[in-house]
């Protein structure tokens, strides 16, 4: 399980407006590209100084490709990162607070304690 990489995907896509739109329009393609090109980029370093070992599990890849915030929550992706990015992706299609409330309802069946988010 690679919670850190899930968080890194959410973090890097959220902060880049073009990437946010690309992920909205083509989630599966964006996840494939990101895992190949970006997953092993060290964020504060030159492109040559890459890491070599980061990869998603099949379940993580599917959750991201499916815009599946319920599974992301269950996998322990940081809830603030998921929420912030998903609001950017989908709030525009809904009335005020409608998306945020539906988002909560979709995970209402998940009992406490919530999945661990420690990386």
């Amino acid at each position: 399980m690679s919670r850190y990489l899930l968080d890194k995907f959410l973090f890097t896509v959220d902060r880049d407006p073009e990437l946010t739109e690309r992920y909205r329009e083509d989630p599966a393609g964006t996840v494939t590209w990101w895992e190949q090109e970006r997953a092993n980029t060290l964020l504060n370093c030159t492109p040559a100084e890459r890491t070599t070992w980061l990869a998603f599990t099949d379940e993580e890849r599917r959750a991201l490709a499916g815009h599946d915030h319920v599974t992301l929550f269950e996998l322990g992706a940081h809830p603030f990162l998921t929420l912030t990015l998903f609001i950017a992706l989908f709030e525009r299609d809904h009335g005020p607070m409608e998306y945020q409330r539906a988002y909560a309802k979709a995970i209402a069946h998940i009992p406490m304690p919530y999945p661990d988010i420690t990386t």
């Binding site: 603030f80 998921t82 945020q100 309802k105 919530y114």
Partner: protein, 300 residues
């Protein structure tokens, strides 16, 4: 030595800026009451006539990230740009630039290290809404130099609650040992019960009104001992999954001191979260500004 003229603790609701500036049909029904409470709160800082603001907050995965995560970090730079793309996008927050008070930052770093707080530092820090929200509410002219102090309330593992209290106590001592004639206010923002990205988010109230009631009483009465007896890293999961931000309130209780009753206490029950505002005057409450102005005229 510098004088600590006010200790201020507050929530940092990113929607205040938009709610308070909205007009017509866009203005939410609670905006006027919210603005009135903020203006009364702002007056508590204005009356203290500060020269410098120490601003305690928490980066929300903006500049600080999981590849290099400090627990406590002090910003030491001549300027701090502020607010980030996703805060502009989601909350409509404006871009800002604040001046830094490098001399006090250097003093806090040296003195903090010598007090066994292994503080990280940043010489180029873009700050986020945990610090700009209280600037917008308490000092909207954004004219005073700041020293940002970031805490990790966001990415486990986090320091224990007692460590936040200890840092607050130390921060006060550090301010009071700064060789300067400046008047300093310490302002910190955190959360009461809060859920973000979980099943209990965006409800009619905060996710745990009972926790909020107890928390406000702990803070207002300066009951650090009672608070520490109940609050643990584990217990903070129960009132809401983002409630670890309450530890920044505990830091401010440490700065205010055990048993110190706040001079100003106010709350506002909003959807999603309860707002809470506290001011302490360590050296006694300053006279209301009207009275001060009248006194000055009499003396003239």
């Amino acid at each position: 030595m510098a004088e600590l003229v006010a200790v201020i603790a507050s929530t940092h609701h990113p929607f205040f800026y938009r709610a308070s500036t909205a007009t017509g049909a866009d203005r939410p029904p609670f905006a006027d009451e919210w603005v009135a409470k903020i203006e009364a709160f702002r007056e508590t800082l204005t009356r203290a006539e500060p020269d410098v603001l120490v601003m305690v907050g928490s980066d929300h995965f903006h500049q600080l990230w999981l590849d290099n995560m400090p627990q406590f970090l002090v910003g030491k730079a001549p300027f701090f740009d502020a607010n980030w793309h996703n805060e502009e996008r989601e909350f409509g927050l404006p871009r800002m630039t604040l001046r830094g008070e490098e001399d006090l930052a250097a003093h806090i770093l040296r003195d903090g290290l010598d007090r066994d707080f292994d503080l990280a530092f940043s010489n180029e820090l873009r700050i986020d809404h945990s610090i700009t929200c209280p600037i917008i509410t308490l000092r909207p002219q954004a004219d005073l130099p700041i020293v940002p102090v970031y805490t990790n309330i966001f990415a486990p593992p986090m320091p224990q609650p007692k460590r936040f209290v200890q840092l607050g106590r130390a921060l006060r001592e550090m301010v009071e040992s700064w060789e300067s004639d400046k008047r300093v206010a310490i302002i910190g923002t955190g959360h009461l019960s809060l859920e973000l990205g979980g099943p209990r988010q965006f409800g009619e109230h905060g996710p745990d009104p009972e926790f909020d009631r107890k928390a406000v009483e702990w803070i207002a009465s300066g009951d650090i001992e009672g608070c520490l007896a109940e609050v643990t890293l584990e217990s903070l999961h129960h009132p809401g999954n983002a409630t670890h931000g309450f530890m920044d309130f505990m830091l401010m209780m440490g700065a205010a001191g055990e048993g110190q009753r706040a001079d100003h206490v106010d709350t506002l029950d909003l959807f999603h979260t309860m707002e809470a505002y506290f001011t302490w005057y360590p050296n006694g409450a300053p006279a209301p500004r009207e009275a001060t102005a009248a006194g000055a005229e009499q003396r003239a």
